[in-house]
């Protein structure tokens, strides 16, 4: 079996999946990607085992901040044409299956002209016109594109989905985000947490050069970017309350200062959303340790040291960080929203709290920090949830079966 994975970046979602398919089942996995990510970087094993081709198009990064939203679809079809050209220039590339994801729609629109094999769209998310994702935070100042962009943003996703043979979503909620008319062609297969890397273990005594005493309580927050859609401002509000009550808490934050989603730059008055938030909510900066992007190994260390992990996203793509935190056995306190409820059951394998009720959130957090033994079973149950449902060992056999079925369509 030979799969061609297409993604903006490598390794991203597909790097580890391809490596597992290669090592476990002897499959051949090839990649067409635009760039290698810095964090995480591709492992040497990936580079040795997988065939990776990079392709280029345009002069600016796809979906960059400089691209006005009405032009995003144009960039998408340019990318589709570039992927077709790259495929044509790759001699003897004859996959049995193509699996594609893209920042905003899989760039597969023209691949059926070149390949005689089924195409799977990785159905990460379908944006809503209201009450989810971009439009959920009505507590923040409205942004100019708010009435318009949500009506347009899904164009690449629809174009790719209507021209692909099947779709694969990582969670049921993400599948449900798509219009019901497409549910018949979307199956749910999670791509697998590395349960060996993200495993309970020894608690580190130093993070990013800062010594952390055994008595220090660590509260973690992880997101790709410090943005409202992932609840960074709500985290700061809750943290501020917690810090007032306890002097022994350190808040360790991993992720880029940049906002990747949403319209935070519209109301941040020239600042990053992180700066804007920190300037509005009274808090002692010395109580926070901002790490920026970290390697998976560092993230695993941070999560192992966590006494409480906060996950405060709006209804949107469920972050890997939630799965990683649960996999390390951290006690998770998360926003009580549908995508999280699919994974976290309140008082069974984590805690849920209304997203905007930062007082209740802080009270719950303080109770966890004060009585860790009472909540430790939740962390163990979280680890069990990952092992039974979301680990590589749990997911890969199903994913293999799915790819084989679609390849034989």
């Amino acid at each position: 079996m030979h799969i061609l994975f297409i993604h903006d970046a490598f390794p991203a979602q597909f790097g580890r999946v391809g490596l597992e398919l290669t090592e476990r089942y002897g499959w051949q996995c090839s990649y067409l990607v635009r760039s290698f990510t810095r964090c995480p970087e591709p492992s040497q094993k990936m580079l040795d085992s997988l065939t990776i081709q990079r392709y280029t198009f345009g002069t600016r990064p796809f979906g960059s901040d400089q691209t006005p939203w009405p032009q995003l679809y144009g960039e998408y079809v340019e990318q589709c044409a570039a992927v077709l050209n790259a495929a044509r220039e790759w001699p003897d590339l004859r996959p049995d299956l193509i699996v594609a994801n893209g920042g905003r729609g899989a760039p597969t629109l023209y691949l059926a002209e070149h390949f005689d094999c089924p195409i799977v769209t990785y159905c990460e998310y379908y944006f809503a016109r209201s009450h989810r994702d971009l439009t959920y935070r009505i507590d923040l100042p409205p942004a100019e594109p708010a009435p318009f962009f949500p009506r347009v943003i899904n164009a690449p996703t629809l174009a790719s989905l209507t021209t692909s043979h099947a779709g694969c979503a990582p969670t049921h909620w993400q599948k449900q985000s798509f219009p019901e008319r497409f549910h018949h062609k979307i199956e749910v297969h999670f791509d697998g947490v590395d349960e060996q890397l993200y495993a309970p273990g020894q608690r580190v005594s130093e993070i990013a050069g800062r010594t952390i005493s055994p008595e220090t309580k660590v509260v973690t927050f992880v997101a790709r970017g410090m943005e409202s859609m992932r609840g960074f401002d709500l985290f700061i509000a809750a943290a501020s309350r917690i810090a007032q009550e306890r002097s022994d808490v350190l808040f360790v934050v991993a992720g880029d200062e940049k906002a990747y989603y949403g319209w935070d730059s519209f109301h941040a008055q020239g600042k990053t959303f992180q700066e804007w938030t920190m300037s509005r909510i009274p808090c002692d900066p010395s109580r926070f340790l901002f790490l920026g992007h970290v390697s998976p190994e560092t993230l695993a260390d941070v999560l192992r040291r966590s006494d409480l992990h906060l996950y405060l996203s709006v209804p949107f793509v469920t972050s890997w960080s939630l799965f990683n935190a649960m996999s390390t056995g951290a006690v998770v306190l998360a926003s009580d929203i549908a995508p999280v409820r699919e994974i976290v059951k309140h008082e069974q394998n984590g805690l849920l709290c209304p997203l905007f009720d930062t007082d209740q959130m802080a009270n719950l957090a303080l109770d966890v920090l004060a009585t860790p033994a009472k909540y430790a079973p939740l962390g163990r149950a979280a680890r069990d949830t990952i092992l039974s449902k979301y680990s590589l060992d749990a997911c890969m056999p199903n994913l293999k079966d799915y790819y084989e079925r679609v390849a034989n369509l």
Partner: protein, 410 residues
């Protein structure tokens, strides 16, 4: 069934376009008020009767890319959004009140996409013309053109997903859309005028200062523009052969000489008839009359005088001109494909044939040589049009849909 007079807000890039005739019928036959938002308009001579008398035309401007004559194929959706935004700006400035239903036709330009931003919770019925498949048309095509065809579906997809109630004219058009959407479509032909058509008439007819006497055999061809998509080139080749064997045959090809169908991308913006006529015999050139775009009244007179109407479109949604020719009682000679079979039954309401010029010519010669023998086909076509294609038959179904939507909202 009750049929309320409603306030309809129509949006189409050009007036009267396709919805103008529908709006006119609704105003005159059902007492509707229609506010018709458009970007530009045809000459007033082509406006429907009720314009200014219940049908008000309001223009909206477009900015940016929409003002450019040609755009890169990758920017097709961006141009559509210029229309969507332009329409929204005017709606936002005018705040139209008590709109019962919004009726839009995108024509690939997405005019109603943001209408609900200004007028929320009002049903939007949207007329969808076509959805491009990934395969080549039978017209010669570059890869860029084929890429454009696939890219251009984006506006239809996002309109379909933004709560419009999809409407299209034929089952063929409905079948072009992805299977996931087909069940949502209302298939209602938007109809042709059948009430006030002139009777079939062999009295002299003057076209382009040339008077055609009662013995002249008239072959007609009608299209928005005389292009390869609608088969003007095939028609011209057939007529060239007819003209060489029949001294009394004349062709009238009505439509704009400048190709405005982007589907005929090889000839877009050019004078296609000039190019085709240059390849015809002098006899054919002299007897091919090109009156340009005709008013509905003049078109009706030409069709009433037609001895044979030729419809040679490439596979594409059927042009209204075929239905008009049938309503006028023309004997229609039609290049066969799935789209036309909803209208023409071979040897019953018209003649279907392959695109072979020899075959088409032979059939045309038989029809012109024995007009009485084939008259029954023209009469049957007229009966079919009255019973199935007339606005008086088709548009009450659209009215019922509007009534139901308004009822559901109450």
């Amino acid at each position: 069934m009750s049929q309320f007079p409603l306030h309809l807000l129509c949006v189409e890039p050009r007036f009267p376009g396709r919805l103008g005739a529908v709006a006119d019928w609704l105003v005159r036959r059902r007492g509707y008020r229609v506010s018709f938002f458009c970007h530009n308009a045809d000459p007033r001579a082509l406006w429907p009767e009720s314009t200014g008398k219940g049908l008000d035309v309001i223009s909206f401007g477009v900015g940016g890319l929409a003002n450019e004559q040609r755009i890169d194929w990758t920017r097709v959706l961006e141009r559509s959004l210029c229309y969507s935004y332009g329409c929204w700006e005017v709606l936002s400035a005018r705040h139209p009140r008590q709109v019962d239903v919004i009726l839009g036709r995108s024509a690939g330009l997405g005019s109603t996409l943001f209408a609900n931003v200004e007028i929320p919770r009002t049903p939007v019925v949207q007329f969808y013309d076509t959805y491009f498949d990934s395969k080549n048309t039978s017209l010669s095509a570059s890869e860029t053109y084929l890429h454009w065809r696939k890219a251009a579906n984006a506006i239809e997809l996002i309109e379909l997903e933004n709560g419009t109630i999809p409407w299209t004219a034929t089952q063929y058009q409905r079948g072009l859309f992805p299977g996931e959407y087909r069940d949502d479509f209302h298939v209602i032909f938007d109809g042709v005028e059948t009430r006030s058509l002139p009777p079939r008439d062999r009295t002299p007819l003057t076209i382009n200062d040339k008077t055609l006497d009662e013995n002249t055999r008239v072959v007609t061809f009608v299209a928005r523009s005389l292009d390869a998509l609608r088969g003007f080139d095939t028609f011209a080749q057939v007529f060239d052969r007819l003209a060489q064997t029949d001294p009394n045959v004349v062709a009238i090809a009505a439509g704009s000489p400048i190709v405005d169908h982007a589907f005929d991308h090889a000839n877009y913006g050019s004078d296609f008839p000039a190019k085709i006529l240059a390849s015809l015999s002098q006899t054919a050139r002299e007897r091919m009359l090109l009156p340009g775009v005709l008013s509905q009244a003049n078109l009706a007179r030409v069709l009433a005088r037609s001895d044979l109407h030729f419809y040679g479109s490439q596979p594409h949604p059927v042009s209204r001109s075929l239905a008009q020719a049938m309503a006028a009682g023309c004997v229609v000679l039609v290049v066969d494909d799935a789209a036309v079979r909803e209208f023409v039954e071979h040897d019953a309401t018209g003649l279907l044939a392959s695109r072979e010029v020899d075959e088409l010519t032979a059939i045309a010669q038989r029809v012109l040589g024995k007009p009485l023998e084939y008259r029954t086909l023209g009469d049957a076509a007229a009966t079919f049009a009255r019973e199935k294609l007339s606005r008086d038959v088709t548009l009450p179904r659209l009215v019922s849909l509007f009534d139901r939507l308004v009822d559901e909202r109450r």
